[in-house]
């Protein structure tokens, strides 16, 4: 049994169609994924293909319409507490400084919640260590608006990891950043992952990002999203920006691009 099993999962959103009748939109259709413990997986596909929906299914925020999502062999029926999440918008709380933003999960999630006040010092040290890891040591006491977009994203990654989740779900985390910042953050994320060894599912529309970071890339077709290609990436780690110019890297990206084009047509 793998760490995460997604078996024949459908997800239909109910809404109203153009003529005002209630209709079901099939966002994800018969998805099958198995993800190993500590694996780094990327989901790519055209926009609106249900990539983010698949993330929500794994996190338990949305129940599937059909099929089963299992994490550690147990069926997911309610929001999992062992996930960390990061989004395109940094969603830091503007009234808290960076350190307190990073500490937020510990105030809420068990078992940290019980001892949050008592372990204030330990927690603080943990947050600071994490911030140091992403190069934000000097910014712990700054407010979010005082940081650039890339720095806010680093802080958000720290917040997603502070409670040591076993699964990290990233929904186009770097999409709003400029290319240089984004490529910097690939390195940061790769470091964090090799240091924490948690399971990561990354949703992105950037194929270079997917190949750079992931062990396995899943290509999804346009709505209703189904998985049309599973590609493992064997490029040795740690990958660097230089790797992205190697022929095998470029070939992989080209191949994925081809599959996405096919997925759009179907």
């Amino acid at each position: 049994m793998s760490f995460i099993n997604i078996v024949d999962v459908d997800l239909a959103y109910s809404g109203t169609d153009a003529s005002g009748f209630s209709a079901q939109t099939l966002a994800v259709s018969s998805a099958n994924l198995t993800i190993e413990h500590g694996e780094f997986v990327a989901l790519v596909g055209p926009s609106g293909c249900g990539k983010s929906t698949l993330l929500k299914l794994v996190s338990g925020l949305v129940p599937p319409s059909a099929g089963v999502v299992k994490v550690e062999g147990k069926e997911v029926t309610q929001p999992l507490k062992t996930v960390g999440m990061a989004f395109q918008n940094a969603t830091l709380l503007p009234w808290r400084n960076i350190l307190d933003n990073v500490l937020l999960p510990l105030e809420i999630v068990q078992p940290y919640r019980k001892t949050f006040k008592r372990d204030r010092k330990v927690n603080r040290e943990r947050a600071e260590a994490l911030l140091a890891k992403v190069g934000l040591s000097e910014f712990a006491n700054k407010m979010p608006y005082q940081l650039s977009g890339g720095m806010q994203m680093r802080a958000q990654l720290c917040r997603a990891l502070i409670h040591e989740p076993s699964i990290l779900l990233l929904d186009e985390p770097f999409a709003a950043l400029d290319t240089f910042t984004r490529e910097d953050l690939w390195g940061v994320l790769q470091d964090l992952w090799s240091f924490r060894k948690c399971t990561v599912i990354l949703v992105t529309h950037d194929l270079r990002e997917a190949v750079y970071l992931a062990q396995t890339v899943y290509v999804m077709s346009s709505r209703p999203g189904r998985i049309i290609k599973t590609q493992s990436v064997d490029i040795p780690r740690p990958r660097t920006l230089d790797s992205t110019f190697q022929p095998d890297f470029v070939d992989l990206v080209q191949d994925l691009r081809h599959h996405i084009a096919l997925g759009k047509r179907s």
């Binding site: 996190s59 925020l61 507490k81 989004f87 918008n89 969603t91 650039s148 890339g150 953050l185």
Partner: protein, 248 residues
């Protein structure tokens, strides 16, 4: 500055158009009346201030509670909001006689009117703040296993503070309007009552002196909330230099 110009214009009008003091007194006459009647103005002013603050305090507590309710649960939003808007469209001055029938003449109708007039902006602002929390943030919180209470305490309340203070500033001025109206219609004390008595005696300078007193109290309360707002929600104003370091 603006006040100086306003007073100057007022004075100019009175002098240029030879307006009698029982129609429109000059600022000097109003101030003279303030000095002359300082003792009754003070006691009645305090009565009005007390009435207003009680009504306002109830409005804030009630408004906060209802705002959180309406903003957090779509069901309440759909069900209660139209009702609240309807309530707010009713002219409150028309309700004062009803309150008098229910509670008798005196402080209670004034408190009620102040409350009725001032709770709506608080509800509307808090509800908006709660209803517009970013969905991603809610997902982060839900995936951490946050309860409703966590969401309200850790996200909703801090996030709504700027809206809350903005609504307090509107609400306090409306509360003054409410209590003074009630005092005029059915009061036995308070600034509104002073105005009623003064105008029935054609003591128009005193009416204006009373208006000035209300104005000063309103500005004073506004200034207090402004001070609180600056201290508590500095993050939303983003004052101070933001550091522009290298990206990433």
């Amino acid at each position: 500055m603006a006040i100086t110009v306003f007073v100057a214009l007022w004075w100019l009008c009175v002098v240029v158009f030879h307006i009698e003091s029982y129609v429109l007194p000059s600022p000097a006459e109003a101030v003279q009346a303030m000095v002359k009647y300082r003792y009754p103005l003070f006691t009645h002013g305090m009565a009005t201030l007390t009435t207003t603050l009680i009504g306002f305090a109830i409005a804030v507590v009630f408004g906060l509670f209802l705002g959180v309710l309406v903003g957090s649960w779509p069901l309440f939003y759909a069900g209660l909001y139209p009702l609240l808007v309807g309530f707010n469209s009713v002219p409150k001055a028309a309700l004062v006689p009803v309150f008098v029938i229910w509670f008798g003449v005196g402080t209670v109708p004034a408190v009620m009117t102040a409350f009725m007039l001032s709770f709506f902006p608080v509800v509307a602002n808090i509800a908006t703040a709660f209803a517009t929390i970013e969905p991603e943030l809610l997902e982060v919180m839900r995936s951490l296993g946050a309860s409703r209470l966590d969401m309200i305490m850790k996200i909703g309340i801090p996030r709504s503070l700027p809206f809350f203070f903005a609504s307090l500033k509107i609400a306090i001025t409306l509360a003054f309007v409410g209590s003074v109206i009630a005092e005029i219609v059915a009061g036995n004390k308070g600034i509104g009552n002073v105005m009623l008595v003064a105008s029935s005696n054609f003591n128009v300078p005193l009416v204006f002196a009373a208006l000035i007193v209300v104005g000063i109290m309103g500005v004073g309360m506004y200034a207090i909330f402004d001070l609180f707002e600056r201290r508590m929600t500095g993050w939303s104003v983003r004052r101070g230099p933001s550091i522009e370091t290298s990206k990433g």
